[in-house]
Symmetry: C2
Subunit: 553 residues, 2 copies
């Protein structure tokens, strides 16, 4: 008898970098392929993507990559994945639009098979059937997935909330979910982002009233920053602009790109003549303009940051203009956001900011505890696997599941790499596969790892010293040097004595070794590192990288 | 006629690194000398302290350093300041206790004059008189300062809140403040940390009830983390431990040190026999022990972080133990704190956490809007200078001041380095002095600046390459090398081709220069950097530091 297996390659014990695998017999389905932006401790790394070693080893069995929605943490890794494994991609029209932007950037369009699906699609891959249901989230056209296997139906929620009054018609299909639950769900795989938050996730339409109110009050220009992908929010901004008779200008590459995709594919309606280009902004009276821009997370090169420091060519923020931050800082971004708010106040702008939904200008796209409980109640799963969250969120999600009837012991809190096998209607987590972070630095993938990062860290903290000396091949006397070059260590001018002492120490070290008749290079280098390192630590409490270069002539 | 001047060397447009100067005629008083912990962008920097160039140039006029209270952002820079300028320090008994810990560490105790003051002290420095008033804050023995000058009285609040039911008897002296206000205040200098928060700062005593409740409920050990300097909080922990019949163990160097100072100087009362040492913890039943530890800000080497990963020798967290985070993460520390919470959940601990006062286990030491308005109302200043805050907080504080009667135009929102002069009862801000950040790296001060940091940043992001070649003195032919050594760039094993191509390029560059009869070292180095740099950027989209070393034999 065969079994159905759920594998997590990313997205568990972390927010970001989602990638999941469902397999049954000879068929493998991959769900999502996200990227995660690293924190500052990963020096120089641009993106983290899942380790797909397991999939590379089993690529002949992979039937499809199914994408739940178009957020970076679900699609950011796709180009890098495709370069290793070419697989057809199944997603809704809007999601595919965003994926295509990425494929164009990486010149992968021609060789990739893209299949447009809707929530009504029914797919078959060997013995696995796949159907879908609509969920509400902070981006259009999101799907939950039902995987039909001989072992029973497995449901993957994607990212969701229950928004009964969504903007832009992005309803969730509760009736279909109820029907799925009625038919029986052996395992529910559900996202956990807001498992710590009590109550119900507020509706996106709440934002509309606050927007219109703020737009009416604003005397000068309005500058509003939100995630470009939140097209439903963008639609509400368009409508508020319409009501207050303002033109709309888009600043920031991703805002322009995403709005293009949304317009082209019919996910956004903008009245003719409302959109103006950046260089037209100054031609209209300030109270007739809304600027919609990127940078709500404090990204230093995005439009909002540049506007806040007066470094945006086409647009200037004047005293009395209103800036609305229609987003909540993602953990880790608080400082960057707060710096921008400060700069905006210094320009004399009125700034509407605050975390969460406190200003009424933002709501989360993820369900709160009551939303999560409703999903669990609708699906009535036998087994439950919370995903898309840090450990404490998964922990809280388990408590929620148990509170609505999932049996104790039937929740699997797993880690990336863990596998849950369901066989004979019994689920077990007993095995793991390789899973971890793969780093993208520049255009290369995976050539930066622990050692390189450790070196970067040392270089970053205390800089480095290169010590060059030439010794003669015959008697191994020093014939040139030692010379010491430093970078990132100390001001050279102020540390002449230090450098002189280093050179003296190196000479002494070599002479001592010579006296002991020790002439191996590696010993010479080791001893130089040790004596200079100890001296520098005593003098400066720093540990720069020391790189002795010994030439033999 | 003489004037009174207020100078800010730190503490404005930032939280952290407070240092202010008041001068009249020949006399200079310095208020506070703080340090600030850098964010990750300042690679390798341990501490930021104020630039005291102005004070060095005027050191014969400095009469005293007066310290309002013992927090790091008010005392952290003292040892470095004293090494440049020896000046007597005036502070209360508890504050001096914490300063002495620092002086001992830097071996400065013998040469520093310390003067113990109380809120009743009256000091005179030339024509300046100084008196004090008690304020409540999250550390014992805090002072506000009144500077009496022929131009009128200037009041500096220090950090404060109005806590009418403080823990540990740390009352603020409202009657004295009223009397100061009645006598007339030409300028109020007041802290702005919570100027964005509506309402009244909750009382420290609110924490007591929640502590006792949590202690009663806890079935295993209790591990509580808070700022060591919050002795009033520590006192409440002691009392809750007493009520629930638990022993108390202190983990973490600063916790042990500060509690020592507090006990010795009478700011903390602990019943005999309650304190147990770390290695006695396991000898008591878990429900008879409270561990009070450092690390509430997620510091990776502090006690809580080590406990959360099972790396603390003397104590282990078992499933069912209760961990209480009695502190709110300072902006920038959220990620570190959240990592620890996750680890604690994985150990099976019950964790009480949450931002601000949401858990009842923490209250801010800084006054909210109503506290700030009360101070402004009591002091009735003609001029107002908000300090101790980022720009938006100063901005809000100005609005508060105007709402309680400070005339529009009489508030000075200044930057570090700006000077407010009061002459003939009129205040003006027309001049500035040098002020900025001085970096402490290891034990050296000021030898790391922009260039060193820029180098560190480049090294951190993309690592480095050292290219060594030896050329002959005579005909300038390459006689050895080029050899390329990399650190922090790529895995060497995986990039043999890259290194080979670099060496080829270097050779080519040298031959081309030779053909053109160009033999200057700097030109050779420049061209190597350029050709290799361009090649690497094309291949990897990275820009490592390139360090050509050419030896002439």
């Amino acid at each position: 008898m065969n079994k159905v297996s759920f594998l997590a390659l990313g997205g568990i014990n972390e927010i970001g970098k989602n990638m999941y695998v469902i397999e049954y017999g000879d068929d493998i389905l991959v769900i999502d392929c996200g990227g995660k932006f690293p924190d500052e401790s990963l020096l120089g790394i641009d993106l983290i993507i899942p380790d797909v070693t397991y999939l590379e080893e089993n690529q002949d069995r992979i039937r499809a990559l199914i994408v739940t929605h178009g957020h970076e943490d679900h699609i950011g890794g796709i180009p890098f994945f495709l370069k290793k494994i070419n697989v057809p991609i199944y997603a809704t029209r809007f999601t595919l639009g965003l994926i295509e932007l990425k494929l164009e950037e990486h010149r992968l369009t021609r060789d990739t098979e893209l299949v447009t699906i809707t929530s009504d699609s029914i797919l078959e891959f060997g013995e696995i059937g796949v159907s879908f249901f609509k969920v509400s989230h902070s981006i259009p056209d999101c799907l939950g997935i039902v995987i039909h296997t001989p072992e029973g139906n497995v449901v993957h929620t994607g990212d969701f909330k229950f928004d009964l009054t969504p903007a832009n018609g992005q309803y969730c299909d509760i009736h279909k979910m109820a029907e799925i639950g009625r038919q029986g769900v052996i395992a529910l795989i559900s996202e956990s982002t807001n498992a710590e938050r009590k109550g119900v996730s507020p509706s996106e339409s709440m934002v509309a009233e606050h927007l219109v109110e703020a737009f009416r009050k604003a005397e000068g220009k309005i500058i509003l920053s939100t995630f470009a992908s939140n097209v439903n929010r963008v639609q509400q901004v368009v409508e508020a602009a319409m009501k207050t008779n303002r033109k709309l200008s888009l600043l920031g590459r991703s805002m322009v790109n995403v709005v293009d995709v949304a317009l082209e594919r019919g996910y956004l309606n903008v009245p003719d003549g409302m959109l103006i280009s950046a260089h037209e902004i100054e031609q209209f009276p300030p109270d007739k303009v809304v600027i919609l821009c990127t940078g709500s997370q404090g990204e230093p090169n995005a439009a909002l940051a540049r506007l806040s420091t007066g470094n945006y060519r086409d647009a200037t923020i004047y005293p009395g203009d209103t800036v609305i931050l229609a987003a909540s800082p993602i953990p880790g971004n608080e400082k960057g956001v707060s710096r921008i708010i400060d700069n905006l106040f210094q320009l004399g702008a009125k700034v509407i900011y605050g975390s969460g939904s406190s200003t009424g200008m933002h709501v989360s796209g993820h369900g709160y505890q009551e939303d999560l409980k409703l999903m669990l109640t609708l699906m009535k799963p036998t087994y439950f696997i919370p995903i898309h969250g840090e450990y404490r969120m998964l922990h809280h999600h388990r408590q929620l599941a148990e509170s609505v009837g999932v049996e104790k012991g039937n929740t699997f809190i797993i880690k990336n790499g863990d596998v849950v096998d369901i066989e004979d209607s019994v689920a077990r987590q007993t095995r793991s596969i390789p899973a971890g972070d793969t780093y993208v630095d520049g255009i290369s993938v995976g050539d930066v790892g622990e050692i390189v990062l450790r070196d970067r860290k040392q270089l970053a903290e205390d800089g480095m010293l290169v010590i060059v000396l030439t010794i003669s091949k015959g008697d191994r006397k020093i014939i040139q040097g030692p010379d010491t070059i430093t970078r990132g260590f100390v001001y050279v001018k102020e540390s002449e004595n230090l450098i002189r002492e280093i050179n003296r120490l190196v000479k002494k070290t070599i002479l001592e070794l010579e006296a002991d008749n020790i002439r191996q290079w590696n010993v010479m280098k080791q001893n130089i590192k040790k004596s200079v390192g100890q001296y520098l630590f005593r003098q400066t409490k720093r540990k720069p990288m020391i790189l002795p270069i010994i030439l033999e002539i």
